[in-house]
Amino acid sequence: MDRSDILAQADEVLAHFSPAPGTAKSYVLRTSSGTTGAPIVLPIEKALNPILIKWFGDDMPTLVCYGARGTRMYNLLGMSKIAEGRKRVLVLDNKNISPGIARLIDDFAPECIVGFPSFILKVSEHFSHVARAVVRELHVAGEMLTPAVLKIFSTTFPNARVASTYVCSEAGSIAFSCSHLPPNQYHPKFDVSIVIESPDDEGIGEIVLSAQANGIQFSGYHPGDLGRLHNVACPCGKSLALEVLGRRGHDFIKLLGATLRREEFDRAISLFANLIDDYRVEASTVADGEVLRGRIFLKTHTNGLLPSPALQQEFAARFAAEVFVTPTRTIAGLVAEGVLLPLEVEFSSEPFAQKHKDIKLQQIS
């Protein structure tokens, strides 16, 4: 089952979508980003499962830090419903993140923050020490919890417990973290079936899920992540843990709001065909003090002699200025904004080892 099957089902569901009277608050219309094809508009049913009720059923003032408005609405609506209006919720927008926000954060004094780790870290730069100490809960989703991220979380929000959810934009919540499991490991929801496709010697392969969600039958669906399953005897009573290892990296990688697309790298590399024969990209996040920055490491195989240091430097500058990682900005642009570290390039005359899967883009922790 691939994305086009989901798109066809979603269109059908949307065409006939007519919630019963009194149930509107159970649904949010969400649009997937369209990173891997046409966007999907889908009514997501906000199921009030016990974990979400436990997480959001309190009165803690909560800051929501997600990018897409549909995702923000999904969280706001869930919180308003679960907490029956008792909860104060501030849904932050990217454009609010400026020095002026510090005074407002002090005023709002969130005890819980939910969102993308990278968004939370960006906002946290504007938290006073008092506001940081007040935060007790961080509920994150959508990105890997790398050691760098966890390190900054622990120093920035010393009193906060971190919980995370593994989500798929079309199917919703797939699995929840547990205080007994290490980071990036989750207990799958009881109604979600997960298998690992073509696992390697270490059991790592592509995550494939089956579930009935939002009126769609997800049968053998590939959300695009690598992972492995662990049989565990968790004190919480669960016996299965899914370890998520990041995007499969075949086509694109998300990095701090930027999207590294294979086709864009292929295009840019083709401009240097007289110099570069093949390439691999490693993307990661690194802690730079209390700020998280993206690191892109381009490994190249030259088709002749290794270029001189001056030419290598020139190539790196031109390549960074050529590759778009948002609709309007290049690697060089985001380096200038401090989102990314300067592009690192390695030249080698040795061809890359040919593996079972030709993975050009890879996210590493």
């Binding site: 919630p19 408005r69 209006g85 501030l90």
Partner: protein, 243 residues
């Protein structure tokens, strides 16, 4: 007989004065008559943290980015539902440039038991979404409406209503949208006050105050009072709108 001389909002003023939160009490001092109460405005909201002008718990908190400065504004979910932002329909679309305004108006739809299509910021995605959901009404601002124009042109049927929520309107630029909706409502509102007057779209709109809203014109400026207890009540609030 003495009561008959009281302003209709006097009991509301007394209720606010008796509230533990002293934002208004501190400003009003010994003045008790509604018509004599000192005016408040954005400067007061900017200077005073929301936590010190909160008269009700819970709800949505917005960041209001005004020319005068940035401040927080709170709304109880039920109060959002009582606003006159839109007209209830089966498949409303909410499209605002400001994300906070968009969330609030989407919550308005939910309070009326309808599932809104909340437009994403990217106009291309918003257009795509509008076509997919077959929207039947719009709650929007002028800038977002402009971005949705190609969708309106492509539609085979008129929208039941377009509600434009703003603090100023330019009928000459909005006239081009009239063929695409059964009616166009102009809803006068500020982010921190909610809606307070409305008019049907025309060459020279005539705004009528909404229920529970009392508008005074003082030195050419609209001064607003809303007679419902809001998270931060609006009592003799200088809107900055000339009238």
């Amino acid at each position: 007989m003495k009561d008959s001389k009281k302003h209709p909002f006097q009991p509301f003023v007394d209720e606010i004065r008796a509230h533990p939160t002293d934002f208004y009490r501190a400003r009003w001092g010994n003045v008790r008559e509604f018509a004599s109460l000192p005016l408040v405005g954005r400067a007061d909201f900017i200077q005073t943290p929301l936590s010190q002008r909160r008269y009700k718990p819970g709800g949505l908190v917005k960041v209001v980015g005004a020319a005068e400065g940035v401040f927080l504004s709170g709304s109880d979910f039920a109060d959002i539902g009582r606003e006159a932002f839109g007209v209830v329909s089966q498949r409303p679309m909410v499209a605002f440039d400001d994300a906070h305004e968009a969330m609030e108006k989407a919550m308005w739809c939910y309070e009326h038991d309808t599932v809104p299509l909340l437009a994403e910021k990217d106009p291309r995605v918003a257009l795509y979404m509008a076509g997919k959901y077959s929207v039947d009404s719009l709650v929007t601002d002028a800038a977002s409406l402009e971005a949705l124009f190609p969708h309106l042109v492509e539609r085979k049927t008129k929208l039941s209503c377009i509600s434009i929520v703003a603090s100023a309107f330019f009928p000459e630029t909005l006239a081009r949208f009239m063929p695409y909706a059964e009616r166009i409502r102009l809803v006068l509102a500020l982010p921190e006050t909610g809606a307070f007057a409305e008019s049907e779209m025309s060459e020279s709109p005539v705004f009528k105050p909404l229920p529970d809203c009392h508008i005074e014109i003082l030195e050419g400026e609209m001064v607003l009072t809303k007679s419902r207890l809001l998270v931060t009540p609006i009592v003799r609030y200088k809107t900055g709108i000339r009238a």
